[in-house]
């Protein structure tokens, strides 16, 4: 997600469009990105550390974005696991 202090022009555009469509009551919109990473095998601490590194070096720009990493069960349970990442 863009850091709170960073202007988010896309979020602003969405915020402007909502009332035009009749949706009321939304006071702010922030737009970010979500990456779904599928990893082979189990999501161990080491794998998770590596995913954090990916997030810091490529998937997000730490100057303007924050990110969080969340582990979710894979499509084929026990075979693959998904790592979700929002930047």
């Amino acid at each position: 997600m863009p850091k709170p202090e960073i202007l988010d022009p896309q979020g602003k555009a969405v915020l402007g469009a909502l009332p035009r469509l009749g949706f009321q009551g939304v006071v702010d919109v922030r737009q970010g990105k979500r990456f779904e990473l599928e990893v082979a095998g189990e999501v161990t601490e080491a794998v998770l550390a590596q995913v954090h590194e990916m997030a810091e070096t490529l998937l997000s720009n730490p100057v303007i974005e924050n990110f969080e990493v969340r582990v979710e069960p894979g499509v084929e349970q026990g075979v693959e696991q998904g790592v979700e990442q929002s930047a």
Partner: protein, 226 residues
């Protein structure tokens, strides 16, 4: 001097930049994003465009191209590097320059002749100007809003790392009207407007851009460590 101009997939202004380098009195050397060496150039220009389609973030993929590993290493030794528009975005993503460039605050692409004030005429790329010079060159960008945290902005101002500032209104939401910045040493400069389009009366909005390509001196290159 030999100045390399890198072409990434999606670069647009590489040929104009090469031409500007020649008009500035230097030899232009074409470099490819997949190159693993800099072919003996004395300096590098990263041109404008939409490298790698601006996928992920502008400049985010280009930063990891083979040639950029060489450029980053050489820049850290003091080699002059100029990034224009997308080149500026690549330099920020590479952490050679502070801050980042985000979508214009008004969300529209801007394309106009832009007046600027040269704030620092002692960088590798601006010594042909005088501090306070007002020039007009082309500006064309969709994601040209320069942002950094307050402490970084204060440091940039304090250390004279603001190279150029927008005049006559802020065209893209850049904080403190910043159009270009340099690193602390002054060898790496990023600029959102396009001096390479303003080097000939026939096609440009005047010739105010030539200075960026005529600034490199032997003195500067003598400071680059081997």
């Amino acid at each position: 001097m030999k100045i390399g101009v890198v072409t990434f997939p999606g670069s647009l202004d590489d040929v104009d930049a090469q031409r500007a380098v020649r008009i500035g009195g230097h030899e232009a050397v074409a470099l490819w994003h997949g190159d693993h060496d800099l072919r003996g150039v004395d300096a590098v220009v990263l041109p404008g465009g939409f490298s790698y389609g601006d996928y992920l973030r502008c400049g985010a993929i280009s930063r990891f191209s083979p040639v950029m590993a060489e450029v980053v290493e050489a820049a850290e030794r003091g080699m002059p590097v100029l990034g224009i528009c997308n080149g500026f975005q690549i330099l920020c993503e590479s952490h050679l320059l502070p801050g980042a460039l985000i979508r214009n605050d008004h969300r529209r692409f801007v394309c106009r002749d832009q007046r600027l004030r040269i704030e620092n005429a002692s960088t590798a790329w601006t010594s042909a100007y005088a501090e306070g010079d007002e020039i007009t060159i082309v500006l064309k960008n969709g994601e040209g809003g320069f942002v950094a945290d307050e402490a970084t902005l204060d440091r940039l101002e304090g250390e004279g790392q603001v190279v150029a500032r927008y005049l006559d209104g802020n065209p893209n939401g850049s904080l403190r009207d910043i159009a270009g910045v340099s690193n602390a040493r002054g060898n790496v400069v990023g600029l959102m407007p396009h001096p390479e389009h303003c080097v000939e009366e026939l096609t440009g909005a005047g010739t105010d851009g030539i200075g960026f390509f005529a600034s490199l001196t032997a003195d500067w290159l003598a400071t680059v460590s081997a």
